[in-house]
């Protein structure tokens, strides 16, 4: 149980990036009528930003 929680905490930034940051970006673009580049949908574009950003936070231990 404890190691599962540790793993969850370790990967939480990635889950947060993909689960929260990505839809947040998509929703903001939608509200402000910003088109995603290369004909991508807002959701796809959000995932393309949120997922690597979350992975970066896991790797570096910092969001920035």
């Amino acid at each position: 149980m404890e190691s599962a929680i540790k793993q969850l905490i370790y990967w939480l930034p990635f889950l947060f990036g993909i689960g929260f940051i990505a839809p947040l970006i998509a929703q903001i673009m939608q509200v402000w009528h910003i088109a995603a580049p290369f004909g991508l949908s807002h959701a796809t574009f959000g995932v393309l930003i949120g997922a690597p950003w979350g992975l970066y936070a896991v790797w570096r231990g910092r969001w920035l």
């Binding site: 969850l8 905490i9 689960g19 929260f20 990505a22 929703q27 936070a57 910092r62």
Partner: protein, 357 residues
């Protein structure tokens, strides 16, 4: 609210606390032993003021740690007599904290559905939620010190309710907040034992950056410091359980944010909870923790908290009187500043610097 302390007035401690067991317990924080390492700020010798002629020492004594045991004891008794007055005053007013908590929590909890229904604009929800998040900590902080009701007392239910509701927007369980905060009181400015020590920074911009750094997921996270204190330093089953529950509550909170975002309410939950939690925590860590204890280099009773003009005024939530809180934690926050004003003649002799009060 300043008042002159009658010179050399000898107030018996038991009489000063009026037989109140809580006050007796609290006021034994410092029985002023002869080798008490109180801080003295004055370099030169200065005569002890306000003592009757017969009690003035033959050899002039200095301030702070240069005071002799008799003078320290007398000053402490005078301090306690003033603290008792404010304690009794505070006890009659604590219902306000309970009322503020219940109303504040109801408003905070309603913000998310009201923004989803587009009744409250996002910017207004963000501002209100940020202020309520910090305010929640202020009232919960009173509960941490059992100021609304001790264990077994009539007010205990309300005390605990204030504690749990007040801490909720921060996604921090009341129990761990209580344990870490009481450790902070016990070991203020101790690099290894004070849970708030990672807030240390030389300037305000550095303190803000440090706050951000302490909240990052990796090695710089304050979580490691808290874990070491809770699991290794304290190490009781209660402390370990409180730490585990804090982690679980944090994970649950993150999954709630994710669930709301997946349901299409990412902006709403960001403005009503996620961002206000960040601003609220920042306000608490920088304005209410770093600022009163900066530069974090003094662990003594009269020196571990400074008197200052808050950068965040009027959103300082009475933090300017934080020294009064560290001396007497059962005095509610809003009464600490007037209490310190009344204690000025006493505390100045202890070496407290009132220049910026």
């Amino acid at each position: 609210m300043s008042g002159e302390i009658e010179g050399g007035q000898s107030v018996d401690t038991a009489k000063a606390v009026g037989g109140d067991p809580l006050m007796e317990k609290l006021l034994i924080i410092d029985e002023a032993p002869v080798d008490c390492p109180d801080r003295g700020s004055a370099e030169g010798l200065a005569p002890v003021r306000d003592l009757p002629a017969a009690d003035v020492p033959a050899i002039p004594l200095g301030r702070g740690d240069r005071l002799d045991a008799y003078v320290r004891r007398t000053l402490l008794q005078q301090e306690r007599a003033i603290a008792k007055k404010y304690y009794e005053m505070g006890q009659k007013q604590m219902w306000r904290y309970v009322a503020l908590t219940v109303v504040g929590f109801a408003v905070w909890a309603s913000l998310l559905p009201l923004t989803i229904l587009k009744i409250v604009p996002l910017w207004a929800a963000f501002i209100a939620s940020s202020l309520l998040t910090t305010g929640g900590y202020i009232v919960a902080h009173e509960a941490i010190h059992d100021n609304m009701g001790r264990k077994g007392s009539k007010g205990r239910f309300w005390n605990q309710l204030v504690g749990y509701l007040g801490m909720f927007p921060l996604l921090l369980p009341y129990k761990i907040a209580q344990i870490t905060h009481l450790e902070h009181h016990k070991w203020t400015n101790d690099p290894l034992r004070d849970p708030d020590y990672p807030d240390i920074a030389p300037t305000l911009p550095a303190a803000i950056f440090k706050y951000w750094l302490n909240r990052q997921p990796g090695k710089t996270s304050q979580l490691h410091h808290i874990r070491r204190i809770m699991v290794e330093e304290i190490g009781t089953p209660e402390a370990k359980k409180a730490f585990r529950n804090a982690i679980l509550m944090y994970i649950a909170g993150m999954f709630f944010f994710i669930a709301m975002a997946q349901a299409g309410y990412a902006i709403e939950v960001a403005c009503c909870w996620w961002l206000p939690r960040w601003t609220g925590l920042g306000h608490i860590r920088v304005g209410l923790s770093w600022e009163p204890h900066s530069p974090h280099d003094d662990t003594s009773r009269y020196g571990n908290t400074r008197l200052f003009q808050a950068n965040f005024y009027p959103l300082s939530y009475w933090i300017e009187g934080h020294l009064g809180h560290h001396l007497y934690p059962n005095i509610p926050a809003h009464l600490c500043k007037p209490m310190l004003a009344e204690m000025r003649p006493i505390l100045e002799q202890r070496g407290v610097d009132y220049t910026h009060f």
